[in-house]
Amino acid sequence: MTEPDVARMKAAWPGAARGEGNGRDMEAQKEDPARPPAEAEGQPVTFNRRGFLRGATLGGLGLAAAGALGRVFEASQAASATSTSAPAKAAHQWAMVIDLRYCNGCKLCTAACQAAHYLHEDQTWIDVFSMRNAAGESYFMPRPCMMCEDPPCVPVCPVSANFRTAEGLTLVDQSRCIGTRICMNACPYQARYFNWGAPRPAPRQPFPQEPAWPVPQVEGTVGKCVFCAAMLPSGQLPECVSHCPMGVIYLGDLESDVAVNGLGNTVKLSEFLAANDAVKFKESYGTHPRVFYIPGHGQDLDLDAENA
């Protein structure tokens, strides 16, 4: 990745409102493109600024309200939802490809994710499910957040704690979440996890605590897979991608049409998906996930025995 690329991404992330009154304040991000905006940290100082900015725009609230209500109807027209939700101008549109043919169910992705984000054992932001196909053969299916283009979790939050960035990442503002858990109800993939008690303590992190790097987690709020959003601008792959010994998980970018896995294999995204009959999980729900699965070809890996 080139340097200008990185700078552009930083400027675009993580705010980027969806222009409907439940996004973030664009103004706050202007100040320092080299550093992720402190606006999302939820510190008292930044809250005051945000509160003031919001208060100042109260006049436009009616308009925003109309937009938000319109969103309800827009959601029903799932067919038209293809990338209407995220502005097209971002440098990247992150996606993921999961090649089920090679997953051996080792769950190193889960372990790496939980280690990096200091999660409890039950907070499996990427979970690996043991599946059986129609022929009774076993395979494994890692399930991160689907980063839906039309995420059902976003419109249901009463305090706008969920938002979608310009780069297509759905994130949670844990400094705002009040813990109604209605997003856990809305998510058809069970990809959201609550902090039912004190989170695991974390040492000082390389990134500020914010929606793109919610470490440590916040008690009484919802957390979920963030595609390691804070690591992407510096060209690092998400923890699950880089820790998969089988090269199952690819990080993709719909904008540049490239995907890369932890073994260093780089593929042309669209061709890779087309050639391997990629599918999305629960497509009928109209969520338009940005995680693509390449199904296995019916081979029985007999991995239960291998793991035992």
């Binding site: 609230l61 209500l69 907070q123 599946m131 249901v156 305090v159 009040i178 109800n185 599918v279």
Partner: protein, 511 residues
């Protein structure tokens, strides 16, 4: 079923009689003010015990705030459970006040008169208790102010719709309680003689002055008041319908089998009516016993409320039947799995408990003449209130524990996950018990300040021709043999054609 038979009885004719006013009126005023003026021996121990339960619940909640929602038995595969069921159940029971008072007022059922104050007071105290369940429900209750902070509002969220709807309904309930209190305050002030000193007497005098100080009792005063009450009575019914509909949206606007039900708004409204009437029966029975209102509240009142209860109980049973039939019959993997879990799977005990205790037994009690007594209706109401709370658990918990990840490649839809489990702990039970105790506690305190009977309304009705007959019939010996006679509302309350209660509510239920 019985309501239909009863409506024919409303045509019963031939009741004329005079009024024996003044003595009765003195009784009304004395009885209404007795709880304010006298402190019975049971009062302080009862209030103390209820207060202790409330404090225990608050302590449990403090523990929950300190340790996190996990101590309430929640987990990632049971993210909604008791508190959400409580929220629905407690806001639901507040609907009873609206029905008994507003619906019977609009339909000119004069026999309602002695019940309205108690019904409205019950609604007034249960609704805030129900709303308060949002506090233990939240994972971060210290951020609850965000719900009233407009810049954070996301108007596409059903929870925010809930919040607006319930707040509006609370306001309307308060107004509906306040309006009939205006003339009563003027009356009550007269009864609180100047010889009474004490802090509470002085406070009451101030209160009555503030509430009804400007009431003169003139014709224009009365006309204005009646107009206002009529308007609010009409408004509060659609408002209550909207509250319980919107409450159901928070569940129904998801993709989970068992939540994604178009029947939910109606289902929730009928459940609210059903439990609301049951709670009104219980609080009227308690007030009758404790405040010695036997001269005004008669067994026949309970039987009539019992018919209302049966009508809504049958409607709710029917809605439950259709919901499970259709979801089970459609046979899609998620729906069928959910229905199976509820009927014969891991949730069969609470479901069938509901079916017996709040589905069959209340209907049976009302249907059998021998059981259709004041005592029977009170027992049925107790069953309904508790078993419908259990039914709310059956509505909330199974879909929340549903496994959503199943093999996308397998035609048979093999599950990759098992069902989640909610583990009851002492924390939500304590909080729920505390909320339950808070309702009688609040009523006991409220009736230390407010007349327990709507004095003015009863007096006005007593001036009308035929009212005495209605009261006498209510007070008469055990219900006569025929159902229709027991239900008949005699003619004579003015030029209007009187509508029998069962008639009115069966229409209401059909809509």
């Amino acid at each position: 079923m019985h309501g239909e038979r009863a409506s024919t009885g409303a045509e019963r004719s031939g009741m004329d009689g005079g009024t024996e006013g003044p003595a009765v009126l003195e009784d009304v005023r004395a009885a209404a003010m007795r709880p304010v003026l006298e402190t019975p021996r049971w009062w302080w121990p009862t209030v103390g015990a209820l207060g202790a339960l409330v404090l225990l619940g608050i302590a449990a909640w403090v523990v929950q705030v300190a340790d996190g929602l996990g101590v309430a038995g929640y987990n990632n595969q049971a993210f909604w459970a008791v508190y959400e069921a409580d929220l629905v159940a407690f806001i639901g029971v507040s609907y009873g006040g609206a029905v008994v008072s507003a619906v019977l007022r609009i339909t000119k059922a004069t026999w309602r008169a002695p019940l309205t104050r108690i019904a409205e007071a019950t609604a007034l105290v249960t609704l805030p208790v129900g709303m308060l369940f949002i506090v233990p429900h939240l994972g971060s209750p210290w951020r609850i102010w965000e719900l009233v902070w407009p810049p954070y509002w996301n108007l596409s969220s059903p929870i925010l719709w809930d919040f607006f709807a319930v707040s509006t309904y609370l306001l309307a309930t308060a107004v509906f309680f306040y309006l009939p209190l205006i003339p009563d305050s003027a009356v009550a002030k007269g009864w609180l003689g100047p010889e009474r000193r004490g802090l509470r007497a002085r406070f009451c005098r101030r209160l009555y002055q503030a509430l009804g100080g400007r009431w003169r009792g003139s014709t224009s005063d009365r006309r204005l008041l009646h107009g206002a009450i009529g308007l609010v009575a009409v408004m509060i019914i659609p408002m209550a319908v909207s509250v319980h509909s919107v409450l159901s949206f928070a569940f129904a606007s998801s993709s989970r089998a068992g939540y994604l039900e178009t029947i939910f708004p109606v289902y929730f409204v009928v459940a609210a009516l059903y439990t609301g009437i049951a709670l009104v029966v219980l609080s009227i029975a308690a007030c009758r016993r404790l405040y010695h209102l036997e001269a005004f509240v008669h067994p026949r009142h309970f039987v009539r409320l019992g018919f209302l209860l049966a009508a809504f109980g049958a409607a709710y049973l029917y809605l439950t039947f259709t919901e499970y039939l259709i979801d089970g019959y459609s046979g899609t993997i998620d729906n069928a799995a959910w229905v199976r879990q509820v009927l014969v799977g891991r949730y069969w005990i609470p479901f069938w408990f509901y079916f017996v205790a709040a589905g069959l037994l209340p209907l049976l009690i009302i249907a059998l003449r021998r059981l259709r007594t004041a005592k029977g209706v009170v027992v049925a109401s107790g069953l309904v209130v508790f078993a419908m709370w259990v039914k709310r658990l059956v509505i909330v918990i199974p879909p929340a524990t549903e496994p959503l990840v199943r093999s996308p490649l397998a035609a048979t839809g093999v599950l990759a996950q098992d069902w989640g489990t909610y583990h009851f702990t002492w924390v939500p039970i304590s909080v729920t018990v505390a909320a339950t105790a808070a309702i009688p506690l609040a009523l006991l305190v409220l009736f230390r300040f407010v007349p327990v009977l709507p004095v003015t309304e009863m007096e006005e009705l007593a001036e009308r021709e035929g009212f005495e007959e209605i009261m006498q019939e209510l007070a008469g010996p055990e219900p006569p043999a025929s159902t229709s006679a027991a239900l008949a509302t005699p003619r004579g309350s003015g030029p209007r054609r009187p509508t029998s209660s069962a008639d009115a509510t069966s229409e209401e239920g059909a809509q």
